[in-house]
Symmetry: C2
DNA sequence: ACAAAAGTGTTCCAGTTACACCCATGA
DNA sequence: TCATGGGTGTAACTGGAACACTTTTGT
C-alpha cells in the first residue's frame, strides 16, 4: 500500500481480499558484522514502534502470505522464513477498543475513522514468523502509512505496540533453539563463506563466544557445512578457507530425525 | 452443542459468538498400559474420521478456547495442553467448495444447508493443540452432530478428513521432541508414581525401549522427577519406590534455559 | 520354593571442553 | 619485519550406552 488511494481501497474493501481476525507479524532479524538487529516500523501518528506485518489473502496459502508480506517490506524473496507461534492471549489483543484506536491513529492520515463493526476494528490473532537477513542487503520500503523504520539491537528494544515484545522474545528463543538444526545463515552468508564469518554469526545470534577449533569441529560433525578447496583473499592476512552449506545432508537429517518437523 | 436447537443456533448465530476463519484442532493422545492412542470423532454422515475441534469465542483468549474445547470433549480440565502449529497451506483447506460440502454433509442432520457466504463455508485456518490423557479416565461426550468416537493407535490411523493426518504427524513429532523438557505425564500419571510406570510411558510415546537403569539416571539428572521414601504394594512382587515430578525444578529450567519458550 | 517384577553399579566409548602456538599475507 | 587474523591438534572430562545379577513379595 504505497498510495493514499490504495490505503483507502484497503480500508474499504480489504475484507473481500483478506481474512479478518488474523494477521502475520514478522520478526526480521538483521545480521551484519557481529550485530543482530530487528527491523521495526513506526506507523503514522504512533510513538511506539511495531513489527512489520500484514494480512492473509483469501486465495493464498499461509506460507505464501508470509513470504509475500516479507517481500513487500524487504524486497527479498526466497529467504529463510519460519512460523513459530500464534499469539492470541494478550490483553491488548482482546480489546476491540484498543485495536480500533490504534488503527484510527494510523488511518487519520488518510482521513478515515473506523466504525465499531469495521473488519479492522475486530479482535485479531497474530501468527508469528521470523526471518534472518543481512540488514545491509535489505532495501526497506516503507508503505504509505509507515512514517519510518529502524534496525535496533535486541538489547535496545523499547516497549512496542501490542504484544510485540513478547513476540520478539519467543522468536529469539526459537531462532536460538533451531540454529544447529536448520541451515540458518544460508540466506545470510554468501554461498561460499569463511569459518570466521559463520563463527561470528553464531556467536552473535547465540550471544556467547565459542572456541574456533571446537566450533569448526561441531559444524563439520553435524554435517551442516563442507570445507572447500578454495581460499579467500582478505587483505594483509592469512587467507581463510571457504566453506559451503551441505543442504543435502541437512535435508536427509530433517527427514530421518522426526524431532524437527518444522 | 448437544441438542438440535443448539446446533441450529450455532449455524445461525455462531459468527456473533465465534471468530470465523479460525479453528482449533486437538490431537488428544490417550495413553494407557503401553498403548498410545489418539481420539478421533466421526461427524454425522461422514465416512472419514477427524480430530475433535472447535472455534474460538470472541471474548476468550486463545488458551482459554483450547482448554474449553478440550473440556467439552473429554470432561477433563487442567491438563497439559500445548499449541504446536498453524495449518493454513493444505489444498483442502483452501477450497471453499470442499469446506462447504463437508459441513453440509454434517448439518444435513438438522436440515440445514449452508449458503456460499455462510461463515462456516469460508476458508478456515486451524491452530493445532495437543494434549495427553489417560484414555480410561476420559468420558468422551459426543456432541449432537457427532456419530461416534474411537481411540486409535497411531499406526492404525486411516486417512482422515482435511489435513488431519498431517496435523497428527506434527503433533507427534512435537510431543516427542518436548518430552524431556516438559513434565509430560504430569496430568497422566498419579501424583506419586513408580519408575516402571513412567518408564513404560516414555517407551510408548517415543516408540522405543530404554534401559531401566539409564532411564532412571537420566530423569533424575534432568531433575524432572524426585524419588520418595515410600513404596507401592503391587501384589506378589517386589515393592517399587514412588516418585513425583519436580515441578519447581522444571519451572526454573524453563525460565533459565531460553531454549524452550513454549 | 517359585514366579514375577523391581532394584542396583560399573565399564566403555563418544562427544564436548579447554587450551596455545605457528603460519600466511600485504603493507 | 611486523601486525593482524586464521589455521591447527591433543589431553581431560563428562554424559550416554551397554550390560546381569540380586532382592522383594505373595501364593
Amino acid at each position: 500500500m504505497n498510495t493514499r488511494q490504495e490505503v483507502l481501497d484497503f480500508v474499504k474493501n480489504g475484507h473481500t481480499r483478506f481474512l479478518p481476525h488474523l494477521s502475520i507479524d514478522c520478526v526480521i532479524f538483521g545480521y551484519h558484522a557481529h550485530q543482530l538487529k530487528i527491523l521495526l516500523i513506526r506507523h503514522h501518528g504512533h510513538e511506539k514502534w511495531s513489527l512489520p506485518g500484514g494480512y492473509i489473502a483469501r486465495d493464498e496459502t499461509l506460507t505464501q502470505a508470509a513470504h509475500r508480506i516479507l517481500a513487500e517490506k524487504t524486497q527479498i524473496t526466497d529467504l529463510f522464513l519460519q512460523q513459530f507461534y500464534v499469539f492470541g492471549d494478550s490483553v491488548v489483543r482482546m480489546s476491540r477498543i484498543e485495536t480500533q484506536q490504534t488503527h484510527n491513529t494510523t488511518f487519520a492520515k488518510v482521513g478515515v475513522t473506523l466504525g465499531d463493526n469495521h473488519w479492522l476494528s475486530e479482535r485479531t490473532l497474530s501468527i508469528g514468523y521470523y526471518a534472518l537477513v543481512d540488514y545491509l542487503d535489505v532495501v526497506v520500503t516503507p508503505e504509505f502509512l509507515v512514517d519510518g523504520f529502524c534496525w535496533l539491537e535486541i538489547k535496545e528494544i523499547p516497549p512496542l505496540e501490542y504484544d510485540h515484545n513478547e513476540i520478539i522474545a519467543k522468536a529469539l528463543a526459537t531462532l536460538r533453539s533451531q540454529i544447529y538444526q536448520q541451515p540458518i545463515g544460508y540466506s545470510l552468508l554468501p554461498e561460499k563463506f569463511t569459518l570466521p564469518e559463520i563463527h561470528a554469526l553464531y556467536e552473535t545470534i547465540l550471544g556467547k563466544q565459542f572456541d574456533r577449533r571446537n566450533f569448526r569441529k561441531k559444524l563439520l560433525t553435524l554435517g551442516l557445512i563442507r570445507q572447500l578447496d578454495e581460499q579467500k583473499r582478505i587483505g594483509p592476512h592469512r587467507s581463510p578457507f571457504l566453506y559451503e552449506f551441505d543442504l543435502e545432508n541437512y535435508r536427509k537429517a530433517l527427514e530421518e530425525g522426526s524431532v524437527l518437523a518444522f
